[in-house]
């Protein structure tokens, strides 16, 4: 066997080992997600609480499975799933966890579609307001045209401290129906943009 053949064989063996290790790790992570979900669905309050508090490390893989449980008929189970999701958001927002954060943001953005219940999408918008960056802007901005979610989408964009969020707010203001323009103007002013018309309403009695 030539040196080249030896090298190729060695690389192939390494690749197989890597794939095997990765697959094993993925299976391990999936098992971690399944364990988390099962514990969240427990009828024991202590078990549920321990589960959601330990969810932070599991990260992006758990986001979609948790979203399914967030609308569980059992209020306490649904609440525990929501808290687990928040735990992941707070954990991945820590300094230095850039990859983990991006992975979670991508998964969260995948929950903003019309296939998800409004309650889940609303919660996700607030999660993205804390950790969302450039990738989150367009999916959030699309919801500025959704009557049920536009106010939360506006507030999420207002909080994300990048120029892209301001651009999205400006574009949203232009397209907004007349009755929603004052809301958009509020966010734009908060972000330091001068807005013609639509004066601030905060001191105007309405009731």
């Amino acid at each position: 066997m030539s040196t080249n053949h030896l090298k190729k064989a060695s690389l192939a063996a390494g690749a197989v080992a890597t794939v095997t290790t990765t697959a094993r790790a993925a299976r391990g992570r999936n098992r971690g997600v399944n364990r988390l979900i099962n514990k969240l669905k427990s009828s024991d309050a202590e078990t549920r609480t321990e589960a959601w508090q330990s969810a932070g490390d599991i990260g992006a893989l758990a986001v979609h499975p948790l979203a399914l449980v967030m609308t569980d008929d059992d209020l306490e189970v649904a609440r525990a799933a929501k808290r687990a999701m928040w735990k992941i958001v707070r954990h991945t927002g820590r300094p230095g966890a850039i990859r983990a954060r991006i992975a979670v943001v991508n998964k969260l953005c995948g929950l903003l579609g019309a296939d998800q219940p409004v309650s889940v999408r609303r919660e996700v918008l607030w999660m993205l307001s804390e950790i969302g960056g450039t990738r989150a802007i367009n999916p959030i901005a699309e919801l500025l045209s959704d009557e049920h979610l536009r106010e939360d989408a506006r507030m999420a964009l207002e909080r994300i401290p990048i120029k892209g969020a301001v651009q999205a707010l400006k574009a949203g203001f232009e397209k907004a129906p007349e009755q929603f323009k004052p809301n958009m103007a509020q966010s734009l002013r908060k972000r330091g943009v001068k807005v013609e018309g639509y004066p601030c309403q905060k001191l105007v009695p309405t009731k």
Binding site: T49, R90, E130, A156, R159, P161, Q186, K202, P205
Partner: protein
């Protein structure tokens, strides 16, 4: 209060017409006083925003000043009709009733507002009242976010209004004795203050969301908070146990106990360099504030440490027993002295219990006779009296906006560290968290239209 030139015809006619019935009651103080100040002998005209729960208690307190002739109560306001009706009956004839507090802010005959709304409204109420030139008494805690605190300080300064935040422990008779005892070095150099408190409650009766009761304006109750459906376990009183509104014991009572600590340590205007919190979460229900909690605040230059611990009842320091003659009308009995602080100096320790409407100083401070040349400290004439005095003199109140925002920041930072599960670094000069982008975003919270700072 405003210059008499700013009173329009309608307001003048209202005042003049009613003056036939009760002259001292209805002449706005601004008619008689110099611009920006209530005359020394004039009545202060107040309005009450939020008159249920603690707000009702505040109304009752102010009524005593009305009876004594120093205050007019012109209006009451609440977004819960039942509470508003009760307050109108309580305040008596001649008091106007409003649903929306902004009607009150537009009235030029009102000098000052007393705010007893839920905590998540404090920032807006104070900023808006300051922007319309009203002096302000607002319940504690001052704010729910760092951004609110900054805006409140800026608005109070810019509009030169007297703000008193309701951490009334500072005005208690025994707070004066404790303060005087400590600043005279009786326990030596103090390098540690350990605040203690019984746990935040867990919701034993969680219920699903439902329709709000008739008469409650749920939209306006939520105000700046993001919209959510009504829930019986998230409204009057119990809002205290939710992080986004009341913030749990640390923000509710921390605004009392840590207020005394910051004042007695001469630390108003300073802040910690690091904050680190851990806690245990409720096991069921909507309430999410930490049940047990352990927070460490590290201060530098001068170096000292303050801790906030919510601990099981059996771990709390036992309250010092009092003889009947140690209680009088001025020193109220504390019904549940399960909170306070231990001051640790290099020559000894000192404990106080309470820190709100009742503040007990340990006997050794009460019995201490200051020797000749001892330092004295400010003795508040009472929390409302101190505010009224400052409205007339332009002096700083004992729990002024800057001091109150500083104390509230401690509470807010403690909760932030708890929910994030990590230590935070704080830059007091810049009033910002450093080195943690997510935590920096969480220093503010977007607000629903049109309820914003």
């Amino acid at each position: 209060m405003k210059n008499s030139k700013e009173i329009n015809r309608r307001e003048f006619l209202t005042a003049a017409g009613a003056a036939a019935v009760s002259v001292p009651y209805l002449i706005p103080s601004g008619v008689l006083a110099a611009r920006g100040r209530v005359g020394a002998n004039e009545r202060i005209t107040t309005a009450h925003i939020g008159v249920g729960g603690r707000g009702r208690g505040l109304l009752r307190e102010v009524k005593k000043f009305r009876e004594a002739g120093s205050v007019n109560i012109a209006a009451v306001c609440d977004i819960d009709k039942e509470r508003l009706d009760r307050a109108v009956a309580e305040a008596g004839e001649g008091t106007d009733a409003y649903h929306d507090y902004r009607h009150i802010l537009l009235r030029k005959d009102i000098d000052a507002v007393v705010i007893g709304t839920p905590d998540h409204w404090h920032g807006l109420n104070v900023v808006h009242a300051a922007e319309t030139g009203k002096h302000i008494y607002c319940e504690k805690p001052a704010c729910c976010t760092i951004e609110e605190g900054k805006a409140m300080v800026a608005a109070a300064r810019k509009n030169k209004v007297a703000v008193q935040i309701g951490s009334q422990g500072r005005s208690q008779p025994e707070a004066y004795l404790a303060h005087r005892y400590l600043v005279n070095g009786n326990i030596g150099h103090i390098s540690r203050v350990d605040c203690f408190h019984y746990p935040s409650p867990e919701d034993k009766n969680p219920v699903p969301d439902s329709e709000p009761p008739a008469g409650l304006d749920w939209d306006m109750w939520l105000g700046p908070l993001r919209w959510r459906p009504y829930n019986q376990r998230y409204c009057h009183g119990v809002f205290r146990w939710l992080l986004e509104s009341g913030g749990g014991q640390i923000r509710d009572r921390g605004a009392h106990v840590m207020s005394c600590a910051m004042w007695w340590m001469g630390a108003d205007g300073t802040g910690p360099v690091t904050v680190e919190a851990t806690g245990t979460a409720p096991k069921q229900g909507l309430w999410d504030s930490a049940v047990l909690m352990d927070v460490t605040y590290t201060f530098k230059n001068p170096d000292w440490v303050m801790t906030w611990r919510q601990m099981p009842n059996d771990k709390l320091p036992k309250a010092e027993k009092r003889t009947p003659d140690e209680l009088n009308s001025e020193i109220r009995k504390i019904s549940r002295p399960g909170y306070g602080a231990i001051y640790r100096g290099d020559k000894g320790e000192f404990i106080h219990w309470g820190g709100d409407g009742g503040t007990w100083a340990e006997r050794k401070a009460r019995n201490w006779k200051p020797p000749a040349g001892a330092k004295d400290v400010y003795k508040s004439p009472g929390h409302f009296e101190d505010w009224f005095k400052c409205i007339k003199t332009g002096e700083k109140t004992i729990m002024n906006m800057e001091a109150a925002a500083g104390v509230a920041n401690l509470c807010v930072l403690g909760n932030l560290s708890y929910v994030l599960g990590r230590k935070l670094e704080w830059d007091q000069a810049k009033q910002t968290i450093v080195g943690d982008k997510q935590a920096e975003r969480m220093m503010s919270r977007p607000q629903r239209h049109p309820y914003h700072l």
